[in-house]
Symmetry: C2
Subunit: 225 residues, 2 copies
C-alpha cells in the first residue's frame, strides 16, 4: 500500500517523521479500525518491534500523527466582517475533518494541543473578542462551534456509507405506524437528506453564528461590523 520511503539518517533505517508519514497514509486509506503496528511495520518494510525504537507505544505514535496532521489546517486570511471570517475558519476545519475522518476518531480519545490547533484556536478567539465578546464568553462560544463541527464530522456517515445509511433510515421509517409517528413519517425524505453534506453542516453553523451574534449585541455594544 504505502511505498517504502528513502532513509535520511544513514545510521538509522527510519526517522520519526517517516514513520508518521506512512502511518498517516495508512490511516487515510484504511481508517483507524484496521491500523495496527504490525501493518505499519509491514508498510515500512521492517519488523514490528522496530516501530518501538521510534515511539514508546501505539498511543504516542498516534499522538504524533495528530500533531503532524494539524498542519493540514489552512487558516483563512483575515479580513472582512467577524462573522464571515469565523464562518470561513470553521468551514475550513470541517473540510479537513471530512477529508480525514480518522482525525475525528482519534480526537475522541485524546485531545489535540498541537501548533495547528493552537493557531486555529487563537484565530477564533481573536475574532470573537474583536466582535465584542469578553474572553470568557469568547472561549465558551469558540468551544460550542468547535464541538458542533467535530460532532458533525463524527456523527455523519462517511461518503462511502451515505447511501446505505439513507436507505436503512428510510426502510425503518417506512415500517413505522404513521399514526404514532406522523412527523417522522411525513419528513422521511428530509430526514434522510440531513444525514450528511456541506449544506446540512452549514445550516447548523449559521444558526449557531446567528445565536452568537444575538448574544453579542444583546449583552454589550458591538466593536466591529
Amino acid at each position: 500500500m504505502a511505498e517504502r520511503v528513502g532513509r535520511i539518517d544513514p545510521r538509522a533505517k527510519l526517522t520519526r517523521a517517516q514513520v508518521v508519514a506512512v502511518a498517516w497514509q495508512l490511516l487515510d486509506a484504511d481508517g483507524l479500525e484496521s491500523f495496527t503496528i504490525r501493518r505499519l511495520a509491514a508498510a515500512l518494510d521492517v519488523a514490528p518491534m522496530t516501530v518501538y525504537g521510534y515511539f514508546s507505544n501505539k498511543d504516542s505514535l498516534l499522538d504524533a500523527v495528530l500533531e503532524a496532521g494539524s498542519g493540514e489546517l489552512r487558516l483563512p486570511s483575515g479580513s472582512g466582517p467577524w462573522r464571515a471570517q469565523l464562518r470561513a475558519l470553521f468551514i475550513e476545519l470541517h473540510r479537513v475533518l471530512a477529508a480525514h475522518p480518522f482525525v475525528v476518531q482519534l480526537r475522541e480519545r485524546r485531545s489535540i494541543m498541537g501548533p495547528g490547533v493552537l493557531r486555529f484556536t487563537e484565530a477564533g478567539l481573536q475574532l470573537l473578542h474583536q466582535a465584542g465578546f469578553p474572553l470568557e464568553e469568547a472561549a465558551r462560544a469558540f468551544r460550542s462551534l468547535f464541538i458542533y463541527t467535530f460532532g458533525y464530522a463524527s456523527f455523519s456517515p462517511g461518503a462511502e456509507d451515505l447511501e446505505a445509511s439513507r436507505r436503512r433510515g428510510l426502510a425503518v421509517i417506512a415500517d413505522l405506524p404513521a399514526e404514532e409517528y406522523p412527523a417522522i413519517t411525513e419528513a422521511a425524505l428530509p430526514l434522510a437528506a440531513t444525514l450528511a453534506g456541506d449544506e446540512q453542516y452549514e445550516y447548523g453553523l449559521d444558526r449557531l453564528l446567528d445565536g452568537l451574534d444575538a448574544a453579542r449585541t444583546k449583552s454589550r455594544g458591538s466593536r466591529s461590523t
Copy 2:
C-alpha cells in the same frame, strides 16, 4: 463484577435480555474499550462461545445493547412554549449521554434507530413544526441540535479525566509564547472551564436555539408562542 442473573427459560441457560443486561452493566462500569466477548462470558459464568448462541457476532450484540438502552430516555411531558420544551428535550438527551458515555462511543459507528430514539425524534420534529418550521427545515434544525448534543458528549472529557485534561491544557498554554498567542494566553482559565459541565453544554444549546428562533421568525410567521 456483574452478578449471575437467574435463568428464565429452563431449557436455555440464558436469554438475550439477560445477556444484554449484563453487557450494559459491564459497558457502564468499564467502557467500550475493555468490553470483550470473553469478559462478558466470564461475567455470565459461561464459556465465551455460548454468547454466540444468542448473538451472531459482537456487533449485533452491541446493536441490541443500544436498542435496549434507548429506553433510558424519558421524554419530558409536553406543555409550555416550544423553545422551553425543545430545550428540556435535549437536556434530557444530554443527561443520558453524560451518564452512559459508552452509548456515544457506540453511536459513532452504527446509527441508532430504536424505539426510544424514534420517539425522541418524533417529539423534537413536532415541536419544531408547531413552532413554525416546515418539516424540511424542522429536520435540519433537529439534526443540528442532535449533532451538537452528541458532539458535546463525545468531545468533552468524562468526569474522571476532567481535572487531568484541565491541568494538561493549562500546562500547554503556560508554555506558549504570549506574543504569538495573546488570546489563548489571556483566556487560559476560561478555556479550561469550557472543557466540560452542564453550563457549557447549555451555553451552546441556547445559542443554537436562539439562532433557530431567529430563522423561524424571519422566514415565516410564528404559529406558536
